[in-house]
């Protein structure tokens, strides 16, 4: 029988689909029977999901331009 504390410990591997079959089954049984842990599992999964869904923002134009300049200077130096 998995306790809530055990569940929290195993949740990371379970979320990453890295839990072994026996642990996976035990975790699933626990969240099926424990509403609180189900909520924790569900909201943690959603937390990861919102971060993964964020595309990197375009670079501010001036930051991009300065990077281009720095690299061009470097390349010219090497060629010189």
């Amino acid at each position: 029988m998995v306790t809530c504390k055990d569940f929290l410990k195993e949740m990371g591997d379970y979320l990453d689909e890295a839990a072994d079959p026996a642990t996976k089954k035990a975790v699933e049984e626990h969240i099926h029977n424990c509403p609180n842990c189900w909520v924790i599992f569900d909201t943690t999964k959603k937390t990861i999901h919102v971060y993964k869904g964020m595309d990197p923002q375009p670079l501010p134009e001036d930051v991009h331009q300065r990077l281009v300049n720095v690299l061009e200077t470097k390349c010219k130096k090497r060629k010189a």
Binding site: K9, G12, A18, V50, P56, L71, C75
Partner: protein, 206 residues
């Protein structure tokens, strides 16, 4: 599929050309990854100025060390490693009085906190504009301690594997896992306060 995983072959072609002295090929690699490198740097250093320094230094270093790149890892992973190291150096420099160490012993610290137990509104992404969402997520990340923040950024934002994250940070796999769990739970806590369904009863957690 992540951009990194989906483009290895294209990267290899560009990399070969860059190594042979084709600067245009290197510029293409830089343009492809500048946003990701900047995001990593910004997330770790939490400073626009430091993030720009890291961005430039990371690509300069990559350019200088093109010949040292072994090709055993993906170009992107190699670049991330450089960017992370540069970012951590910035952090350490800034906090010279209080060393930021990734080796900090966290095992003695308290258990992860779980207080907010409430279901979320359906699709919080639809309730907020992209800009608002970004602000909420950035603010939550900022509140994490660097040792948790770095692991979360690499695993759940940049989507490196547990092993790649461990290798990049010089940590053991169990250390990465325990820090990641802690980071995820702390973020979950903060986001739940914002995204929870209104009127939902908050149950106590035993």
């Amino acid at each position: 599929m992540t951009a990194a995983a989906g483009s290895t072959d294209a990267d290899l072609g560009l990399l070969e050309k860059a190594r042979a002295g084709d600067d245009e090929a290197f510029a293409q690699l830089a343009m492809k990854y500048e946003r990701k490198v900047y995001r990593i740097a910004k997330n770790i250093t939490q400073s626009d100025e430091d993030a720009e320094d890291v961005l430039q230094d990371a690509f300069l270093k990559a350019y200088e060390h093109l010949k040292d790149f072994q090709g055993q890892s993906k170009f992107y992973t190699w670049l991330v490693r450089i960017a992370v190291n540069e970012s951590l150096m910035k952090l350490r420099k800034r906090k010279s009085d209080r060393t930021v160490s990734l080796d900090e012993n966290i095992e003695t610290e308290e258990e992860p906190i779980v207080r907010e137990i409430a279901v979320w509104d359906d699709d919080p992404e639809k309730r907020y504009t992209q800009t608002e969402m970004r602000e909420i997520l950035d603010k939550a990340i900022q509140s994490l301690k660097p040792i948790f923040r770095v692991v979360f950024v690499l695993r759940d934002v940049e989507e490196l594997s547990t092993e790649e994250t461990a290798e990049t940070l010089g940590l053991s796999v169990p250390a990465v896992k325990s820090r990641l769990l802690r980071a995820r739970l702390e973020l979950r806590e903060k986001l739940t306060r914002i995204f929870k369904r209104k009127g939902e009863q908050i149950l106590g957690y035993v």
